[in-house]
Symmetry: C2
């Protein structure tokens, strides 16, 4: 069931170990669900109980540690040998009496990995303070350091096989967006639009089925467009209102996200103007992007372009994306914003996401792009404009 | 946009404060997304950046702390006064330079809440060790204690208004299950079945639309039934194979989960037998359940009933459920398992989930039930049996 050739996982592990050595880390605990998948292939909706993958400089293979009933999932979805799969008993699940990280500490001891420098993903979603305290308490001879985003940074540059999955996700996204444009129509309930969006995205295409996206479809409407993360309601779409669609296609956990804004009727001048300025800003940034420029330089080009029209956006205008699990399809590495001096390189994939949210209205038009050898190219092909409906 | 009358939130806050006093907690930080919603109404897919709700014995209202671009979401979805909404700048987002919990610490200082005993949800999904370290570092005069699941326990007993939403979720679930039974048919791709399941669940009914579920549809098939948390693939359903459906209906974040197992063709004897024994175990447990019995006693009745047939299940056979967000619809309080001495009370809602997972096969037939004044009743009405298809 591996999504990639075994050699691809070997390369990922080698790069991770190289980075570990550079950071003085002998043992790395990955709680990040995407990192667990990236390193071993592990895939399952089991991250609601603590689990992790351990990479040690001294071991050929990572170790998988997770709940007992998910051990078979590790056997089915990873390349790991049986001896490297460590399922814990159900008496560790959701109880104040003991923590799965107590079990993980015992695994480290059993494998002789309890004496060196241990890297932890200190800001990972599914690594809790209770788990952290359990590790610290049980491993007095280890030195813990924050290895935050170490594997995430390895994930930044995509392989050809990863790009192929993202391109398939883009094809799914194009279908999803077309359905969404149809669905935003007066009298249709938001929940019915969301249902059709899900249907299109999960079904995918006849060649390749869709996967669940790391963020649910967002479709804030009317005054809701001033806030980006509201989900749908039972209300119907109305003439004279805007709807922001922030959606993605997903293929084998790889995402292609995109946002568009739909207006039913004749749009107010401020919205039509903002749309054309945002598109102008995206295109200026895309003309500028090529290997060697920095993340903050890209943001500056965007910022300067829209500033000519008096438009200001405070939040970052993009982030790295690709493989992920809920609650985020962002990779938590590159952010297009002042102070991020990451140098862009070929096959980085970034969601250029210049959302504008004012007090009582907002607009989003975004593109997921790949850095090429000489510039950049969007992954999906959707009309880049304010979408108008009757 | 509140899902409940304001008085319901007042009652919740009062009960939470009573429990805080009993635990010696003056200030409580809730990172749990469901707890944030429960206490304030806050609803949005914004939990991928750190956020929390603060309850202080000395304050009339909770405080909301979250990302700047989600401040409008808090204004729209909660009853909180403007002065109690604290949005942080985007320079706090996903950067090693500073953490949103540094901002939260400043809020506590500004409100004079930095000198007492602070309760933290130490095992909450979206509270990270980095956030914990930031709070500890910035609040040297606070004493931190683990308030794990304090609000979750308040959530255990549902109000009439909450039960109404769960009953609506049950109606949506019945529709979802009927669609799922249709979809598990030879030659249909798993992804197309998942797409139809989503469509049915999100669209809901003409009276009330559906919401996204905290766990995606699970439909492990064939040998995959030995592992409960695999999601779908592009493979087609085949004659002679079982498929486990673990699904839910969701209404305004309230869930009614349920599992059924479908077999295409004539089922092997071991599966047909296991199905009837599991149903027998559920029915024995349901006959036994009433206010006053304990969680572990319920599990014992189940265990003894199936043991007569030589069937053994090691993992817990149920848990409290209701309001929730990804990645789990469980409430992390009551578990039906040995050692859990929680006394069942009227209007607790529990997913009785006696999944059996063997080496190369498995079966799930489950029910979400409510404890009544005199016994219990399942929320949904779906045939409780092994579902057979041609």
């Amino acid at each position: 069931m591996l999504a990639f050739d075994r050699s691809e996982y070997d390369t990922r592990l080698e790069r991770t170990k190289t980075s570990m050595q550079a950071h003085g880390i002998e043992v790395l605990l990955c709680h990040d669900t995407a990192n667990m998948n990236y390193l071993t292939g592990y895939d399952g909706w089991s991250f609601y109980t603590p689990q992790c993958v351990v990479v040690a400089l001294d071991l050929d293979e990572p170790l998988w540690i997770g709940r007992g009933i998910d051990g078979n999932g590790a056997r089915v979805t990873t390349y790991l040998k049986e001896e490297n799969i460590y399922p814990y008993g159900d008496d560790f699940v959701q109880t104040p009496l003991k923590h799965p990280m107590n079990f993980a500490a015992d695994v480290l001891k059993a494998r002789g990995l309890d004496r060196g420098t241990v890297g932890l993903e200190m800001d990972s979603y599914y690594f809790s303070p209770a788990g952290y305290e359990a590790l610290k308490g049980d491993l007095p001879n280890s030195t813990f350091i924050n290895a935050e985003a170490l594997v995430n940074w390895v994930r930044c540059i995509k392989s050809p096989a990863e790009l192929e999955l993202m391109q398939q996700a883009a094809t799914i996204l194009e279908k999803v967006m077309a359905v969404a444009f149809e669905q935003v129509t007066p009298g249709n309930r938001q929940c019915d639009a969301a249902a059709a969006i899900y249907q299109a995205g999960i079904s995918g295409t006849p060649e390749y089925g869709g996967d669940y996206t790391a963020i649910v479809p967002m479709l804030p409407t009317g005054a809701g467009t001033a806030t980006p993360h509201l989900t749908w309601s039972d209300e119907v779409f109305k003439k004279g209102e805007a709807t922001i669609l922030e959606l993605a296609g997903c293929r084998k956990r790889y995402h292609c996200p995109q946002a568009r804004t739909v207006f039913i009727g004749k749009p107010p001048k401020k919205l039509a103007n903002a749309a054309s300025w945002v598109v102008e800003g995206i295109e200026a940034a895309f003309d500028f992007i090529k290997p060697g420029v920095t993340a903050e330089e890209v943001e500056r080009v965007w910022r300067d372009t829209i500033a000519k029209h008096g438009l200001i956006k405070e939040s970052r205008c993009g982030y790295s994306t690709g493989l992920n699990y809920p609650p985020d399809w962002g990779e938590h590495t590159i952010s297009l914003r002042p102070g991020d001096t990451t140098v862009l390189q070929p096959n980085m994939t970034i969601h250029f996401m210049p959302g504008i949210w004012m007090d009582d209205w907002g607009i989003e038009i975004s593109e997921c792009f790949r850095v090429t050898e000489t510039g950049c190219e969007p992954l999906a092909n959707t009309p880049r404009e304010l979408i108008l409906k009757d």
